[in-house]
């Protein structure tokens, strides 16, 4: 597979109110053709600036951006083979839905009949064949989202950029759109670069994920690798729940300076039905949170040290855990992940 979008030492510096902000600082990235790539990070981490630089809305202060091997770093948006789905959809309110979708062909001088035919086809692709004559304000948020998608696809871009496109939708609709987006991407076979701050969304949709923090790319990996083998403390804590132990706390359980174990990998043994040999850690339950399929316990080890999170499945537990209960915690060594790079 060839590289579809490449960033080479890309930086972006803003000056606002006399202060210099390094929105993106020296990012290197290769997105493969046909890949569903997600830029994940908290707000202000540089992921949206990165997307805007690929789209051409913000020019990099330093570094090069290549699309399909061509340096487009200084090209305006209309001279790049990418299209964008905007966070607020940005549908033109004075045009009908059909004209909105056909806009990309209209500005290229395609005749009315053929551009409207194609726009109608795309509206059918996003399952909205009936709304062509309506205006954007007459549509619901989910419908507008689909129209924005159809509009961005009309020029058959090699790369589609999506800037938190599902952020404004409610949970049910968002989950539905997630699977529709994913299947659309598979069908079209084009590269999707997707920006989100929602780690669930990133894990469930992406082929690979790049995690941003303070303008830097912390880790690029598949969802499974990112979850199971985070390379930094930041990634471990941002993606999913994690017990991150450092220094003396880490040395207590392994010969490492920093390690991580996911709460669902920590087995909880309750005294009453405990038949196995002694647990690694004995502790007192400090907090109990109910998540439907499991309880998440915060356990304070009796011999001191940092408290640990552990998930207790509801299935197989005869009664709910209570605060103050003494439990044993255990895990297999393979589930302990040693973090090589500590975040500064």
């Amino acid at each position: 597979m060839s590289s579809s979008v490449s960033l080479r030492d890309v930086s972006c510096v803003f000056r606002s109110a006399g202060k210099t902000v390094h929105a993106v600082a020296g990012v290197n990235l290769d997105v493969q053709a046909g890949e569903f790539f997600t830029l994940l990070g908290p707000s202000g981490s540089g992921k949206t600036t990165c997307l805007r630089m690929i789209g051409g809305f913000t020019l990099p202060t330093d570094g090069r951006i290549l699309i399909d091997g061509q340096d487009v770093s200084q090209n305006p948006p209309y001279a790049r083979p990418v299209n964008t789905v905007f966070q607020d959809y940005a549908l033109f309110p004075h045009m009908s839905i059909l004209d909105n979708v056909a806009y990309g062909l209209m500005v290229r001088g395609v005749d009315k009949a053929s551009r409207e035919k194609k726009a109608q086809q795309l509206l059918e692709t996003v399952q909205l064949p009936e709304v062509g004559q309506r205006k954007p304000p007459q549509l619901s948020g989910g419908q507008r989202q689909r129209v924005a998608l159809a509009r961005a696809l009309i020029n058959e871009p090699q790369v589609l950029l999506l800037d938190e496109p599902l952020g404004a939708l409610d949970l049910k609709l968002r989950e539905q759109m997630q699977s529709e987006l994913k299947s659309l991407q598979r069908k079209l076979g084009i590269t999707f670069i997707f920006v989100t701050h929602d780690q669930h969304e990133a894990l469930s949709m992406s082929d690979r994920i790049g995690v941003f923090n303070q303008g830097r790319l912390e880790q690029v990996a598949s969802p499974a690798d990112l979850y199971n083998r985070p390379s930094t403390r930041f990634v471990a804590e941002f993606v999913g729940a994690a017990n991150v132990l450092q220094g003396a706390d880490a040395r207590r359980y392994a010969a490492a300076e920093a390690l991580m174990i996911r709460p669902e990998r920590v087995q909880v043994r309750r005294r009453a039905d405990d038949t196995a040999p002694g647990p690694r850690v004995s502790g007192v339950v400090r907090e109990v949170q109910f998540f439907g399929a499991f309880w998440r316990l915060q356990v304070q080890p009796l011999d001191g040290g940092a408290p640990l999170l552990a998930d207790l499945p509801v299935q197989g537990s005869d009664h709910a855990p209570v605060v103050g209960e003494t439990v044993g915690l255990d895990w297999v060594d393979g589930d302990l992940h040693i973090i090589e790079a500590l975040h500064p």
Partner: protein, 315 residues
Amino acid sequence: MTASSPTSAAARNGLLDRLSTLLYTRRGLLLGVLLAPPLLWFGIIYLGSLLSLLANSFFRLDDFTGQVVREVGFGNFVEIFSPTNLDVALRSTLMAVAVTLSCALLGFPMAYYMARYARGTQKALLYVAVMLPLWSSYLVRLYAWKLLLAKEGAISWVLQALHLQWLLDAVLALPVVGGSSLSFSPLGTYLVFVYMWLPFMILPIMAAIERIPGSYLEASADLGASPAQTLRQVIIPLAMPGVAAGSIFTFSLTLGDYIIPQVIGNSTLYIGQVVYRQQGVAGNLPFAAAFSLVPIVIIGVYLWLAKRKGAFDAL
């Protein structure tokens, strides 16, 4: 009342508290209190005088006694269509169209810059620059222009210094718009009209452009539109309600003004002057009333055309 919390009960007993509770619980009452003064103002003082104007236009002036005869007739409206009066209406309308178009063309780039690029202090300064002329007296500015445009005035002097006097002479030699000097030509009237009404065009256009989200322009560029296409397809259509609002100002102010053409121009008449003379010098209030309906009708037609052209689609 068993007064479970005596302090809060006491706090609710003041007259003002009871009033605000009443207004809070009965929203209709609050709306009525707030809307009554402006509605009375518009309904009685504004619409009332407009209707009385309309009523007056059906009366006539007795040529011998100089008294208004309160009989309904259409004589005034017939007289409006006399060649002299049609000439006045046509000249005023053409002037209003020219002034409006020029204000829109001059005002749009300024408004665009103020809305999209100017920030902080610069924006405040530009605001002041646009508004500043409105702070000084209209007559002072008018006579200042008289001096600028006069035969021995600043503009002529500058052109002479640049050896461009021939250009001014050529322009003034043009039929219809020319004259003996800029201050005695329709061209001069036009220049002063444009100057006077420009702020009324810039501000509404700026407000309209400020309401266009930046993402619309980005989306347009993203889909392949050049900046010129984005301007034509997205910015201008969405700024049209502002242009329309501004043009209502420039159009109606030009149609209604009777002082500017009196001070600067070649003493051909405009609608405002005819109305002014008829009610003042001639004392023919009914005809003045009838003639003052002309700009109202023209603006009505203008708005109807603007709506048909889709100027308000983006509202």
